[in-house]
């Protein structure tokens, strides 16, 4: 596997590249950037010129990882050329959220080639329900095929998210990359570092991923009470308190993070479903816990990796503030100096979990997929 990492800033051209790969030989490029640089008119042309033969995957982010540095103004490009691993690509554009399951089935069908081992998913993070997406793929992908990735982000704006494959990124797009072959070595880790606190509450009114009431009281009011002066910067500030949700009949709780808030209707939209009668508890964290969480994820995914793909939650960035890069430094420290590190702050992380390694939507985690090739 040969790699090259460099950044493109619209109007300011390319940064000094790191790596041995000749850009013309690249077969796959991950292009992660905030919505502004990513949708800049000259961006895609610049990428195409630089990597003429590569499949270019574009994802809008809430901050992109160039090694342990977080870039907001530029597009971080990580170019890959595999020695043995075969790749297969699929892209679909969703018009409305209703067609999501069909779209996922279509994508899974396109990827069903012999030797498929793992799927990397990069999806729109605004209209796509991550829970539905991961469940649909779990149904339609052959057993033993794992899946990881993330939902695109939009800074702290929560307006629209863009994804693209070999064309300028657009809303509603899902891109799937199938990695095939026995030489693929892959590792996963997904850890949050959040602690539930305060009373356990019951979800009394909700619809799919919109939450109205906890214990018969407006959920938005509860958040405002806890946020205090931070309530002014809703919905972003609500990410400081993810929800620890145990669905009825389930034993394993999931962490759910806020995507948007409708002040008029008192609705809060979460990155995953919150069924009625679930128990819910607010969660909080400290810098140290979050950074330790990132390190634990890295430990879980540790191997002799060549490429480390980190998808972290925008909520962590909001809490960590200036100390945000410390979680990347923790990952770097765990993996050593060799692998190339990239990724982004997202609106939802996808990673296998549990004993059957079914893909699940995660919120508020550092989710790591480490990749290497071996004979």
């Amino acid at each position: 596997m040969k790699l090259l990492q460099c950044s493109f800033t619209p109007g300011n051209a390319w940064s000094e590249p790191k790596g041995l790969l000749n850009p013309k030989d690249a077969s796959l490029v991950f292009a992660f950037g905030q919505r502004a640089p990513l949708s800049h008119p000259e961006s895609f042309a610049a990428l195409r010129t630089r990597f003429p033969t590569a499949r270019i995957v574009l994802v809008s982010t809430a901050g992109s990882f160039s090694d342990t540095v977080i870039e907001d103004a530029s597009i971080v490009c990580t170019a890959v050329s595999f020695d043995h691993i075969k790749t297969v690509f699929a892209m679909e554009r969703l018009v409305s959220s209703e067609g999501l399951v069909d779209t996922c089935n279509k994508l899974a069908a396109s990827l069903s080639v012999p030797g498929l081992r793992h799927v990397l998913i990069f999806s729109d993070g605004s209209i796509v329900n991550g829970t539905t997406l991961s469940e649909a793929f779990n149904e339609s992908l052959p057993s033993g095929v794992t899946m990881s990735g993330g939902l695109a982000g939009d800074g702290f704006d929560f307006v629209k998210t863009l994804v693209g494959l070999d064309q300028p990124a657009a809303p509603g797009v899902i891109v799937a990359i199938g990695l095939c072959g026995s030489s693929l070595r892959i590792g996963f880790g997904s850890v949050g570092g959040w602690t539930p606190f305060g009373p356990e509450r019951s979800v009394t009114s909700s619809d799919k991923n919109t939450l109205l009431q906890l214990d018969g009281k407006p959920a938005l009011e509860l958040y405002k009470m806890y946020l205090g002066h931070e309530a002014d910067s809703l919905p972003a500030s609500a990410l400081r308190f993810p929800l620890y949700v145990t669905a009825p009949g389930q034993k394993k709780p999931v962490v759910r993070t806020i995507l948007s808030v409708d002040e008029d209707k008192g609705l809060m939209t979460f990155a995953g479903d919150i069924p009625v009668n679930s128990t819910a508890q607010l969660m909080r964290s400290s810098y140290e816990d979050l950074i330790a969480g990132a390190e634990h994820a890295a430990v879980a995914a540790r191997q002799e990796a060549e490429l480390v793909l980190c998808v972290s939650c925008v909520g962590r960035r909001i809490v960590l503030g200036q100390r945000v890069e410390e979680e990347l430094e923790g990952v770097r420290a765990t993996f050593g100096n060799n692998p190339v590190l990239t990724g982004f702050y997202s609106y939802g992380e996808l990673a296998p979990s549990g004993h059957d390694l079914k893909c699940q939507l995660h919120n508020q985690t550092m989710t790591i997929t480490s990749i290497s090739e071996r004979e």
Binding site: G198, P199, G321, Q322
Partner: protein
């Protein structure tokens, strides 16, 4: 710009008041400042979280404690109940409980019984009251109908040229009828007063006419006893005032008749004056003075009591129900005044009362009529020619009214029920319709309603009924009748109604 107070202070402490940094250092300091702000915000947020969550938790805690207390109370009660059952005397205790239950049941049943008794008593009382009202109305009707005939016929015959002794007999019949009628009226009024059902009207009224009428009625009685009757009428009194002419006349008549009744020699006078009140409002003051037997001081108080006359011997000597003064006093009180009596026993009595004057803007109907000399037979028919229709089912009454009208100079048409009235009105136009209320086929009220709904010229409709109650009058007016005459119909009243009708007819046609 560095604004964080702590960072500013630190910079001043290290570099003094005037410091200048390179742009790089300035950028670095700004990042440091952001970190300070981040720390501050995080600390504030954590403090808020601690505060809110501890509040929430303590609320949850107190709720739990309250729940716990409730549970404990429940448990204690359960335990008590259990020990109660384990007790050897439980059997007795159980029996006690049974006794309490039975006792409660008995009390409930008792209360229900009392309630039911009260309810049926109230129903019975209501029914009795209604029966009394019905009885009065019926009695009024039943007695007035034959009286109507007696008085009407007697009055008619008096106009014929008969032998003087027969005429005297007729007169006695008529006067006795009148007395009987006034007795009935008194009893009716009394029952109304007792039930608080008397209402005083505030209609435009011609005070002079009411006074004159009253004096005219007693004048014949006075002249029979060779008593002088004097009227003093204040010229300053307004022509029209708001009041109840029927009730004012009733009181005046009662006082004047009493005066005539109890005076053997001398004179009777009625003085009507305008008094100016201190507050600026005016009063009409009526004074009836006689030179009769007078009233002893100890009898004065009993004068106005129902069924009491000054002396039991009075009843024997002068007759009467003993209701008149009590009714008059009550009526005057309802009009806002009070009858005051002064008397020197054996020398005469003075009864006086004052009622407030309410000026009327509207002229009364009679004010517009030129009052002329008493009408001779057949004279009115020539002065005020009208087409008159009489609706009356009783043959005797038909005859009486027809004869009275004939004397006044009118040829009339008779209808025996409301339907006949409608049929006749279809064929011909009438100016005046004298309508009985209780008629077969179609009642007077129903017929009136139908007539009023019709288009085109309509007769003036005057109710004629023996049902003398005031509710009945309002029922008649509500049905669309224009006025009301109580039976027995009197010649002078009927003449007044005819004059009014003629005036209204010509007044309106003159306008048109």
């Amino acid at each position: 710009m560095i604004s964080h107070p702590l960072l500013l202070r630190q910079l001043r402490r290290s570099f003094g008041e005037d410091y200048a940094f390179t742009p790089e250092l300035e950028r670095f300091l700004e990042q440091v400042q952001d970190a300070y702000h981040q720390c501050d915000n995080d600390r504030r947020l954590i403090e808020n979280v601690l505060e809110v969550s501890s509040k929430e938790l303590s609320e949850a805690n107190s709720e739990l404690m309250a729940q716990n207390q409730r549970n404990e109370d429940l448990l204690a009660r359960l335990r008590q109940t259990l020990s109660f059952f384990e007790d050897k005397d439980a059997l007795f205790a159980e029996r006690d409980l049974m006794r309490v239950a039975i006792e409660i049941e008995r009390m409930v049943a008792e209360r229900k019984e009392v309630e039911m008794a009260l309810r049926s008593a109230k129903n019975a009382a209501d029914a009795a009251n209604q029966a009394k009202s019905d009885f009065l109305a019926n009695m009024s009707h039943e007695i007035r109908t034959p009286l109507n005939s007696i008085i009407g016929m007697a009055e008619l015959l008096e106009y014929d040229s008969l032998r003087p002794d027969v005429k005297d007999c007729l007169k006695t019949i008529r006067i006795s009828g009148d007395v009987l009628l006034s007795l009935i009226n008194d009893i009716l009024d009394f029952s109304k007063i007792e039930a608080g059902q008397i209402e005083i009207e505030k209609a435009p009224m011609d005070l002079k006419m009411v006074v004159d009428e009253s004096v005219n009625i007693v004048s014949s009685m006075a002249s029979e006893k060779a008593l002088a009757l004097e009227l003093i009428y204040d010229r300053n009194l307004p022509e029209a005032i708001l009041g109840d002419p029927i009730r004012v006349r009733q009181v005046l008549l009662n006082l004047l008749m009493n005066a005539v009744k109890f005076t053997e020699r001398g004179k009777i006078s009625l003085a009507v004056r305008l008094l100016n009140n201190e507050g600026g409002s005016s009063l009409v003051n009526f004074v009836v003075k006689d030179t009769g037997i007078g009233i002893a001081p100890d009898q004065k108080e009993r004068l106005f009591k129902l069924f009491s006359q000054a002396d039991v011997s009075i009843t024997r000597r002068y007759g009467g129900t003993g209701l008149g003064l009590a009714i008059s006093q009550k009526l005057v009180q309802l009009m806002g005044g009070e009858i005051i009596v002064e008397s020197v026993y054996g020398e005469g009595a003075t009864f006086q009362f004052s009622i407030p004057v309410l000026h009327s803007d509207k002229p009364t109907v009679s004010q517009n009529l030129k009052s002329g000399p008493p009408l001779e037979n057949f004279a009115l028919g020539k002065l005020c020619p009208l087409k008159i229709l009489i609706a009356e089912d009783n043959k005797v009454n038909q005859q009486v009214i027809q004869l009275i009208l004939h004397r006044l100079g009118y040829e009339t048409v008779i209808a025996s029920n409301g339907q006949e009235v409608l049929n006749l009105l279809d064929q011909d136009a009438f100016d005046l319709l004298l309508m009985d209320i209780q008629m077969p086929v179609l009642s007077g009220l129903e017929a009136t309603r139908i007539i009023k709904e019709r288009s085109g010229p309509k007769p003036r409709i005057i109710a004629l009924t023996a049902n003398a109650t005031r509710e009945y009058r309002s029922i008649c007016l509500e049905a669309g009748m224009d006025d009301y005459l109580a039976k027995p119909v009197r010649r002078d009243r009927l003449a007044t109604v005819i004059e009014e009708t003629f005036f209204l007819k010509n007044g309106s046609s003159a306008k048109g």
